[in-house]
Each structure stands twice: as structure tokens, then as C-alpha cells.
């Protein structure tokens, strides 16, 4: 305080802003992880509360879930490629990988919703038992995140087309990629804890 400098008065540099947003987004992802942790814990407690209805073993179609998983893991890979071409500033390839990620994500979501609708048609909706409530909520919450991510990709894709790779757009693309990898990790836990252990 005895000395004062005139540094950093004119707003803040783009790099400072980037660092701030990145840290904030990481912390947000951690809070989301706690949200999922609460749902996982509830699922673990309610897993055997089938109330005379079917359990995971009778309901889950593992091959279909495997296809879902492969789609999502591949989309995570293309999201990774997206950040690589992004740092090279290649707008065309950015669009290609963004579109690929988007399409794979849509494929994942369609399969998930198909699975849900089959379950409901067979009379195994979330109203059937505590187990099914926990199942639909945990998996559905992940699906909801995927849907939000897809919407986000549409908006930012539009910005890439009409504004180009500005600092802000680049930053948003990096955040989308982070978000997508995060959802991928959560899915791996859903795949192993809900589906794999479920059919055992």
C-alpha cells in the first residue's frame, strides 16, 4: 500500500478473464458432481426397493446401453479433437467436429429416450417403485444435462458460423468440451453402477 501502481486499470486482459471463467466453470462442474453424487447415493439406497416390481436385472437391455455408451465415448473423443483444431484456429474443422459431437450426442439421447419409453409402456414407469424413481431421476438428470449441452452446441455453432472464432466463442467452445467430458465421466459411473451392477 505504501506504493501504488497503475497496472491493470483498463478493465482486464483477455487472459485474466479466461482464467477466471475457467476456474469458475471447473468449480461449477464440481458442484454438479455433488448433485450427481447425491442422486447416486439415493440410487444406491433405493436400488433394492423394487416393491415387488422388476429390478434392474429384468429391465436393462445391456447391448443397447453399450451402443449408447460407445456413442457418448466417441462424442467425447470428437469433442477432444474439437479443442485441438480450435487451438490451430481451423474454423472449418471446428464446425465439422462440433457437428459430429452434436450428432453423436443426439444419437445417445434418442436411444436413452427410447429405453425410457419402452420401460413406461411396459408399466415400469417412475411411479412403480422407489428403485424406478431413483433410476429415472439419476439417468434422466444425466440426459437433461446432455440436452442442455446439445442446445449450447447449437447456439455456439451458430456463433462460429456468423462471428468466427472470436475470443469469446473460442472460450465457449472450450467450456463445452469440458462440460462434455464431464458428462462422459458421469456416464461411465452410471454405466458401471446402474447398468453393469444392475444386471448382476
Amino acid at each position: 500500500m505504501s506504493e501504488r501502481v497503475n497496472a491493470g486499470l483498463h478493465g482486464e486482459s483477455a487472459m485474466q478473464k479466461q482464467a477466471k471463467v475457467l476456474l469458475g466453470f471447473w468449480i461449477y462442474l464440481m458442484t454438479d458432481l455433488v448433485l450427481f453424487a447425491s442422486l447416486f447415493a439415493t440410487y444406491a439406497v433405493l436400488r433394492s426397493n423394487t416393491f415387488g416390481g422388476p429390478g434392474g436385472g429384468q429391465l436393462f437391455n445391456l447391448p443397447l446401453v453399450l451402443v449408447e455408451t460407445i456413442l457418448l465415448l466417441t462424442s467425447s473423443f470428437t469433442a477432444g479433437l474439437l479443442t485441438i483444431v480450435l487451438s490451430r484456429g481451423n474454423r472449418r474443422l471446428v464446425m465439422v467436429f462440433l457437428a459430429l459431437t452434436f450428432v453423436l450426442g443426439v444419437g445417445f439421447l434418442v436411444i436413452e429416450l427410447t429405453e425410457f419409453s419402452h420401460l413406461i409402456q411396459d408399466g415400469n414407469s417412475w411411479q412403480r417403485s422407489g428403485f424406478l424413481s431413483a433410476f429415472f431421476t439419476l439417468v434422466g438428470m444425466h440426459g437433461l444435462h446432455i440436452a442442455v449441452g446439445l442446445l449450447w452446441m447449437l447456439v455456439v455453432g451458430y456463433q462460429v458460423l456468423y462471428r468466427g472464432l472470436t475470443t469469446a466463442v473460442t472460450r465457449r467452445l472450450r467450456l463445452i468440451s469440458l462440460f462434455w467430458h464431464f458428462l462422459d465421466i458421469v456416464w461411465i459411473f452410471i454405466f458401471s453402477i446402474v447398468y453393469m451392477i444392475g444386471v448382476l
Binding site: M1, S2, V5, I27, S38, T42, T50, S133
Partner: protein
Amino acid sequence: MFGKLTISAFVHDPITNVAILGTIIIGIVGIILLIRFKKLSWLWKNWLTSLDPKKIGVMYIAIATFMLLRGLADVLLIRTQQALSSGASHGIINADTFQQVFSAHGTMMIFFVAMGFLFGILNLIVPPQIGSRDVAFPFLNSVSFWLFAGGALLVNLSLAVGEFSAAGWLAYPPLSELSYSPGVGVDYWIWSLQIAGVGSLLSGINFLVTIIKLRAPGMTPMKMPIFIWSVLGSMSLVVFAFPILTATLSMLALDRTLGMHFFTAEAGGNAMMYVNLIWAWGHPEVYILILPAFGIFSEIVSVFSGKRLFGYKSMVWALGAITFLSFTVWLHHFFTMGAGADVNSFFGIMTMIIAIPTGVKIFNWLFTMYRGRVRLTTPMLWFLGFVVTFTLGGVAGVLMSVPAIDYQVHNSLFLVAHFHTMIIGGVLFGIFAGFTYWFPKFTGFTLNERIGRWAFWVWLFGFLLAFIPLYILGLMGATRRLDHYDASLGWQGLFIVAGIGATLICIGVALQILQVIVSIVQRKQHLVLDGDPWNGRTLEWSTVSPPPSYTFAVIPIVTDRDDFWVSKHQSIPDQVPRHYRAIAVPKNTSAGIVIAGFATLIGFAVIWQIIWLIPVALLGLIISCIIRLSHDAEEEIISAVDVERQELTARRQRDLV
């Protein structure tokens, strides 16, 4: 068309009608005054759409004050009911209204009073104390505030439209499930907390990043003011605990609206899961509130003793320990659930351990005062009151951490007295102390000391008179939430004493309001021209009071803990920078109000199951988010000439002193 919302939602009993009428009249008078003095657009431009944390902070405090008065009105009802409703008399309100009243009291006091004051003070103090102009994400800050306001609006709306929850402040299932609470009360509770809770969560992220990334150059972690450390701990807890609340409330909402079976008494639900989850959030929440209060007291005791804080490092470690331990004790809220002796012993021991870092802090404060030049100002009185009451309540808490004892006093008034001692004697006294201490920082004049002292003493005696009887009643076997009891129990006398205490507390609050009004009227006599009325130690006092919109013309460089104090005492003349530079501040925006408005509308639509409104409001929310987030944040430039002019005026004023 309007779902469950019919004309019967507007029909209430006489006491509620009076309250509604009063609220409406106050609202109308307020609007008429604003129009009369042509202040409506001033309010909109200078306050409601502002992204300045100093203004957002004041708005938080305004809402919290309003909610405090509402919570106090509930207190008067509860105390009157319990003082009268013995034997043949059944008091002034019926059992159902009584249940709504105590549920509303707890909900409002924790979520909208304590949290509101907390975030208000954080917004005002954190940026200047770390030598920053703003929080990390100014727009997000505005969204957080308006979500908080939206939640508060829903709680207040429930008074006039429909009803509030009658299931207690934490709405334990299966009572809070649709089969036992078919009305909209619990839905009001869920959605007001959900909306305000998301706001708190976003604030938590915001302040964490602010503290980590925006400290002035040279302010290494061990040079941070202790208040900043306490906020860091508290906000870490927000970030880890509030998602649990979001998840839990969502599950309860899904149970009630989509017929799920998470916590129901049938179809494989597990109500105890809810109790676990809500306290996995709820216990950290207690520390979210108390840690910043510890920080405030640490600043105050150091300033008014004219000494460095004793044991700064141990204070930091104690804060860290409490932050960690607060996640390991949640089960002590339901020892009686029957988790078994091993589990109960573990949580009992962890609870006792948490008393150790808290004790460290108490001794640090006392040693800070030891051989200091203590000035007994109002903030210091609140601190001394806190030491006594908090220690009293803490001892009662350690007592209850023994599972065997807890089995005896669980759900009794002993428990009610304990947590009120902690939250009033800890959190609220801290808020009052901080309010008095920092008031001149943001207004340019100090509060009237004389009325402040009166308010403190009335408050303190009222507080002891209100809660000591409850400790005794609890040990006599009185359980909480009683709307009526048998005359032969002999409790009425003590309940009447508690009622007198509550009345004294209300007089104390009235004195505080009087204090603010008198101080504003007599502000010329209490001006703080040099901006530093208490001989402060930390950076926020280095600017003029009230600070300009940009707070610091030049970002300070920190060389020491208590940097401002050190620089004052090295008697280095304040260096005038050779030239000033333009400063960018975020531009006002109404997007925060719009986004939070749509969120509140979704809440309202779900509460009343107005099916068509849900997608409409949701679409509005999504579109307004997309529009705002596609914009690159706009800034307003305060020119160098402007900065120089404001700074020179301030300097001249300071030199006059």
C-alpha cells in the same frame, strides 16, 4: 386454465387478512411515494439493474431486513400462542395456522434473513477488502441476487395466495408428501428454497473465484484478512453443500408432482434418506452462516483492541478444521433414528471435536483483547455479548453431542433454545456488529452510538429472557412446535417469561431501526470525512467513505497483513499518482431480473400446476439466457479525467480534516 389456483386460495382467517392488507398497503404507499417523487426510473437505473456489488449488497440487506420483520411477526404469534394456550384456552390461532407460522418463521429466518444479510455483507466487503473493484462475475452476481429475491417473493406470496408449508422448516417426509400435505404449502416451500438456493450456489462459485483470482498484487494467502479466510471456508461449504439441497428438493418435488417414490411411506420409498440428505446440506449450512460471523468478529476485536489479531495462523487452521469437520457431523441431528451405537458414537465424537477449533477461536479473540487498548463501541458490545451467549450455546451443544443425552432432549425446547443461541447469539450478533462497523464505510457517517447501546442491552436481556426459559422447559419435557399443553404441567409461567423476552427483542429491533433513522437525520454530526472512523486495519478503509463507483482509483499493492494499518504507521505520505487511467465497470443490465423472473414464474406455475405456463416460462428462461450469454459483456468506461476529478475532491476533503 389456472391449475389448482381457484378463488378459494384467496380466502384466509382474520389474522392473515390483516397481515396481507398491511403488506399490500405498505406496497401501495411505497409505489405512490416513488411516483410522487419521480424516483421510479432512478430506482430502476441506479439500483435494480445495477451490477455494482455495493448496490447489490444494499439490496440484499434491504430484503433481509424486511424478511426479519416478517419473521419477527411470526415470533410474536408463536410466543403469544404458547403463552396463552394452556388448559381450557386454545390461544389465538388454530393448530394448522400455528404450524404454518413456525414453518415460515424457520424458513424465512435461515434462508432469507441470515443468508440475505450474509450475502449482502459479502458483496459489500469482500471486493474492497481484497483490493478488487468487483466480484469475478458481476452479471452472475445480479442473477444470484434476483433469484434470492424471487424466492423471497414466493414465500411472501404464499401468505396471500394459497398457504405455506405446515411441515416444519425442513419439511420431513412422509409428512411433507402429497398424501399427508395435499395443499400447495409444501410446494411453495420447495420452490422458494430451490430458486433462492440456486442463487446461493451461484454466489458461492462467484465469491470463491473472486477470492482466488482477484486479490490485489502481493496479497498472498497468509496476508489475507481473516474475514476473507472465513468467507473462503464458508463459500467452499456453499459449493459442496448446496448441490445436495438442490438434489434433495428436486426429489421431494418429483415425489409430489410426478408421483415418484423417493421418500414416500409406500412403494419402496425411504423417508430416512431425505433426513440424511437434508442434513448433509443442513449441517454445513450452519457453518456457512457462522464462519463469516467469526470473520467479522475477528476484524472487529482486532480493530477495537488496537492490536493485531492474536494467533492469526491458528485462526486460519481453526477455520479450515471447522470447514472440513462440518461435513462429518450431520447425523447428530437424528441420533434417535437408530443407526446403532457405533455410528452414533462416531458422529458424537466428531461433534465434540468440532468444539476444539471453535474454542481456539474464542481464546484467540480474548487474547487479542488482552493488554489491548479496548474501545467499548457498539460493535465491540455485540462481540462481548456474542462471546457469552455463544459459549453458553456451545456448551449446550456439546452436551447434546452425547447420544445418550440427545435421546432425552431430542426435539425438545432444549434443542430449540440451543440452536437459537447459536444462530442469534452467533450469526445475528455478528451481522449486527458488522453492520454497525461497516455502516460508515458505505454511507459516510457513523451510526448513533447511544441508541445503538440501548438496542444492544435491550436485545441481550430480551434474548436471555426469551431462551433461558426454553432450556428449562426443554429439560422439563416440553417438546417443540406445541400449539397447546395441559395446565397441570406448570409450564405456562415460563412460556410467559419467554414471551416477555421475545417482546423485548422486538423492542431491540425497533431501537435498531430508530438508530438508523436518527443517524440518517443527524448525519451531519457523524460524518467521517477521512473515510476511516475506527482507525481500521484492512484495505477497505483505505478509500474514501462512501467509496466511488470504481472503489479503487489505483489497485493497491499489498506488502503486509493488516496492510492499511502498517502503511498508516510507517507514516509514508500518501502518494498521488502522476496520472489516472480510465476504468471500465460493467454496464447495467435488466437481464438478471428477466432471467430470475422467469425462474420464479416456473416455480409459481409448478406450485399451482398451471400446465401451460410451465413450458412458456421455461422457454422464456432459455431464450433470455441465450440472448444474454451470446452478448459479450458490455462495459462502461469512466474516463481518466472523471477519475482524477473524483479523487482530487476526495483528497481535498480528507486534507480538511
